[in-house]
Point group: C2
Chain length 312, copies 2
Amino acid sequence: MKIGLDIMGGDYAPKATVLGAIEAHSQLKNNQHLVLVGDKDQIIPILQDQNFNPDHFEYIHTTEVIGMGEHPTKAIVQKPNSSISVGFQLLKTGDLDSFASAGNTGAMLVGSMFSVKAIPGVIRPAIASIAPQLAGGYGILLDVGANADCKPDNLLQFGILGSLYIEHIYGVKNGKVGLMNIGEEEEKGNLLAQAAYTMMKETSLINFIGNIEGRDLFNNTADVIVCDGFTGNVMLKLAESFYVITRKKGFKDEFFDRLNYEEIGGSPILGINAPAVIGHGVSSPKAIKNMVLMSRDMVETNLIEKFKAAFN
Amino acid sequence: MKIGLDIMGGDYAPKATVLGAIEAHSQLKNNQHLVLVGDKDQIIPILQDQNFNPDHFEYIHTTEVIGMGEHPTKAIVQKPNSSISVGFQLLKTGDLDSFASAGNTGAMLVGSMFSVKAIPGVIRPAIASIAPQLAGGYGILLDVGANADCKPDNLLQFGILGSLYIEHIYGVKNGKVGLMNIGEEEEKGNLLAQAAYTMMKETSLINFIGNIEGRDLFNNTADVIVCDGFTGNVMLKLAESFYVITRKKGFKDEFFDRLNYEEIGGSPILGINAPAVIGHGVSSPKAIKNMVLMSRDMVETNLIEKFKAAFN
């Protein structure tokens, strides 16, 4: 297994990413090889500083970097030798089994769509965010930003993608799928939610429990929380801000610890033909490590094959 | 000034509402009369239990109650003698200067639209929520649920309504208006946000500062936070759940205290021809008191006249 990691992506790259790779290495099995995609001339000195044997990793040397503020589509096209562009090319050819980066989110999304592309039958892939639950365990919220405008069948498919993710990654079979809405009753919501409700309640592809509300993100009501990418992105950033507030105020707690993005690692892109994970821009070495392990889990569980079978 | 309060609305009515009226009374001036709308036979014994002189209040006796779970439009039509229906009729005739209720939110909204109606020029009134800011002061978030589907000009108008509210209620002149979105750049967002951005940046009616994100709800970035009622409702309930979590975990803090709905009192309906405030279903006496004071402030500052002038 070849696990690709973009060394150039993230606000603290390449140092944080290389240190994260070192942390991840100790948790990988012998057949799980970490492939560092980036400027080898910058990577090796950091490894040497850490007295870490460079032979533990494989390397794909790249010469360009897509900045955090660059326009995604332009950057992917104009920088074919960037770590993100090269990473996805290797993912497409099968030279990598997964690819993860804490770099430009838009470029990661565009890169994935240009290279490995959507799984046949998946209308729009989604970015998912892991939502720790108060009574323990993890839920998944999607979409959190890949699709600002959605159609009802997109939301139904997000429910399927999320259900398969939590089944195979977290062992939650027949996970409860909730539709994010502004009231519990069937007739509540905007036109999108109303139409999605009708589709979701009529399918046997998911275990649909009906509408849920903003307060239900963390309270174990649903395992899969489905919404359009606009709503999901606003929720994700609002929730993150609360985590930051509690940290600043010195509140320590097991639940808030699990909310920490560093523990979660990243946001998987679901519905494409290979495992890809997007990390937080401010990723620390610990976050990078967990992002690597998340992408490893997606390979190990054969998640993409499960997706393909479901949408076949 | 006649300040109307629905005594029958809320999960703990009539006890919590009557006790709230007593709390409010001590903070009202001599010319500010609290009018209790509800079943007088239930009200008087509670006052007597508290050794409170019933002559401090005026009464409008009503015989019907709209339940929290009832269908708003049906209930308003079928229960003309309910406290909410009667309250809005008196608000329409001018026998009340304001009306506040912690009862059925939908019935409050429908009742307001059927009776006092939207201010000429206001396409869709909004429900607003007060958002305490981390560095002090208050912002306003709207819409939080009156309009699940919005058009760009609705959002522009929400910006005007919110700006006038914080100017006259909180003394914040030329308040910063932010558009809730999923990125800072102008081209970001769903079709609604993109179109609203264009309208909002071209008008001189508001002090538009551009796009803001979910993390900016409490960080003093904007004084007026504009979004569609679906997004706003999800945000409001997510934020409330965080407050509940911190309370359950025993975290005490000045900011979290200000987040407490009890301190805020209620959500004003903005854009209708009279002051109306919707309280939280679980309102305590303290919350009822603050809801009464909020509606009083809307009368005292002549807010409706400011709205009318702006949309004339």
